[in-house]
Symmetry: C2
Subunit: 435 residues, 2 copies
């Protein structure tokens, strides 16, 4: 059965995913002679860089989500459907989805990435991922539920297990999450839980490599570790997580940690799609693309953002899985597809590295911009400014700004709510669009 | 098993419920020589008067919820537990909860009210209630899901059924919800869904009596009906809903409406608790209390707010189930319990009617304050001001204010998000603390 969308006289571009890349691709095709169809599992765009603030009670979920229909409300050649991509039938130019088949002339796979557990099923089952808003809300509920549970036990060991938070992965998400938990511990929880000795709350950040923020400068790595330690986080480098059964984390060094919450930010993998030649799926479960983002062996199927691996001399593993890379590829795709339709040679992708940054806590952030590197209060203000400006939607910017100003002056975090309880028994559903 | 809370030398007051009444009772006992224990199913207070704005995408849920621990963070004689009350064992002075037994010297039942289906099981199963934040979020998801579904069908009849919204009950919640849906229809949805003919969207407000807002003046009733009609709502007075099977509403007049969403705001009933003499449960499933809010036949068990029926000459059916009545009873309880402990005669309750108001839409509200009655733009600003000032928490006030200013100038509503899909198969769980 085919989805009921009238064909126009223009070529049809189907975009899978309303993330940073997909949005830019669609936006730049505004007023162009193409029909743009976007599908996404959700009816909103998620501003993933701030998910950890939702998970730690700093921001409401609605301020980092933006309705996709609202973004495109004045774009006449744009059609949106809430749908899950299931399979590509390339020789028929058809995308199969849960709402039916959609014909395409050009297909853009902008499905992004999901948590990578490297095949470890127990970790997939028991740890908390943080790639979507429902996942961040589940984590928020679980953190708060555990503090409530800590009040209900007589056993000191069990109480400490409830207050032991383990974050796996020392990339930006792990560092930011550990820092935000430390801020909760230092400024908020002692007032909320006077009956608990919050000093016994532990925050462990586990990183397999020999430094945090491995993609940034050594200076940023060292400074962020210093910041975290000064805030009371146990930073464990050169350490691996072997297993977690919901009660105990086994580390590679032989140590075990009794805990009820393990937050998984140790890796991501591309969300690929059946129907594309499996041979072109390379490291990180990504589609190998050429300099025009065409998937190897396909002329009219493109991949952009986290799910694309454009392997070049400069980037032998592809570009970093960050928003600017996806945004730039989305924009170039839009430009190139119009060229292609008009038989003009496409432009190759050239990544413009805007630098990278991570925040650890109040007045503590690290910024690398080429050879310019700085850390501390100014870096923190730069981080806030850049994230505010990148947020989609004016309303969201104002609400986030209000929350940050409020937190700055009150040392408080407003949204420590258990709106829906997280029940461990509700085993987390695996990503539906996954290879 | 008893909940592990150390006894103090002071009498223990246990409050069930962190609504308007419970919060005031606990607050006014600050620094008094009592130990205050509050339990609630949620870890937050819900500002129920604005739930309909969450359900219709106007406000984020987190801005009308306020963490209970935060409200009481500096109150030394206050202890909170997330728990569900299950039973009172009055002769042992024990409250049984899902986390164990709690001993009390004085018990305050401030459990509020839940939707009343008057025994109609099909309505309970298939309609959407709007008494809690998860329920409001479910409604928000369902409204948006239905519009998405309307895009997927070829059948005009089915499309119209997806776009037919039925609100049952012409009290403030019903009027405000119907009005908010009309604003969505008139200002937001035509931009979001250019493919749908939104003019075919129907909003039906069904009221059994001969006027809307039956508790307000005739002037308010007539004006609110006029407002709703001018916004395109079908107001059906003297009409009853006989049944709803999830597809079709059968009305008492013989008419049937094909629809996928029926919003139930036709009545509430008190959330009573087993263990209290059933004979003192009166109309509306409320506990009959004396002028000191003591439940009839009990000296140390009180009921306040929606679950209490204080029957007097002036209020032969008890006080209205509104926030000011609960707030005033909560405050008086705190004052009286200290008197009682010190063997000073308690003060009888005297309701101070602050008037009532309801908003229909932009520049359209109705206000009754004694003999002063006004409607329209000024009433709307009064309504907004009063609600902003009553909201708990400065952060929430600012965020709500920003949202309202934003909506006023943009004619937009920011949070039309399907964060978690509402699946009809997940049959709604019945209230757990219910008679």
């Amino acid at each position: 059965m085919s989805v009921d969308i009238p064909e126009t006289n223009f070529p049809r571009v189907v975009i899978i995913g309303g993330g940073f890349g997909g949005i830019q691709a669609a936006k730049k095709l505004n007023s162009k002679e193409v029909q743009v169809i976007m599908i996404d599992r959700h009816n909103y765009h998620t501003f993933q860089p701030l998910l950890y603030q939702v998970a730690t009670g700093g921001l409401e979920p609605d301020s980092i989500a933006h309705p996709l229909r609202k973004i495109f409300k004045n774009q006449k050649n744009f059609i949106f459907r809430v749908a899950e991509a299931q399979e590509v039938i390339a020789d028929k130019k058809v995308l199969v989805t849960n709402i039916g088949e959609i014909h395409y002339d050009y297909l853009v796979i902008a499905t992004g990435s999901s948590s990578n557990y490297f095949g470890m099923k127990d970790l997939e089952k028991h740890t908390m991922p943080m790639k979507t808003i429902p996942e961040a809300l589940d984590m928020r509920s679980l953190v708060l539920q555990n503090l409530e549970s800590a009040l209900l036990t007589d056993s000191i060991n069990e109480q400490e297990a409830y207050m032991n938070f383990v974050v796996v992965g020392g990339g930006p998400t792990g560092v930011e999450t550990a820092g935000a938990l430390a801020e909760l511990k230092n400024h908020v929880l002692p007032h909320d839980y006077p009956e608990l000795d919050i000093r016994r709350m532990q925050i462990n950040l586990i990183e397999g490599g020999d430094r945090l923020l491995g993609a940034m400068s050594v200076q940023a790595s060292e400074k962020s570790a210093d910041f975290l330690k000064s805030m009371g986080v146990n930073v464990r480098l050169n350490e691996r997580v072997l297993s977690f059964d919901g009660e105990r984390v086994q580390l590679g060094s032989g140590k075990g940690l009794e805990t009820k919450v393990v937050i998984w930010s140790a890796g991501v993998k591309g969300v690929t799609l059946p129907g594309i030649n499996k041979e072109v799926i390379v490291g990180g479960n990504r589609f190998k693309v050429n300099v025009f983002n065409q998937i190897e062996g396909y002329d009219n199927i493109f991949a952009i953002g986290d799910v694309a691996a454009m392997i070049t001399d400069e980037f032998p593993k592809g570009h970093p899985g960050v928003a600017p890379a996806a945004i730039q590829q989305g924009r170039l795709f839009a430009k190139n597809i119009i060229k292609k339709i008009n038989d003009i040679p496409m432009e190759p992708f050239k990544y413009f590295d805007k630098g990278s940054m991570a925040t650890v806590g109040r007045n503590r952030a690290v910024v690398d911009m080429g050879f310019i590197r700085f850390q501390g209060t100014f870096a923190w203000f730069v981080w806030m400014f850049v994230h505010l400006m990148t947020l989609v939607g004016f309303r969201n910017r104002v609400v986030v700004f209000v929350n940050w100003v409020w937190s700055y002056f009150s040392y408080d975090r407003g949204t420590r709510l258990i709106i829906r309880r997280f029940e461990k028994e509700n085993d987390k559903k695996l990503e539906q669009v996954e290879a």
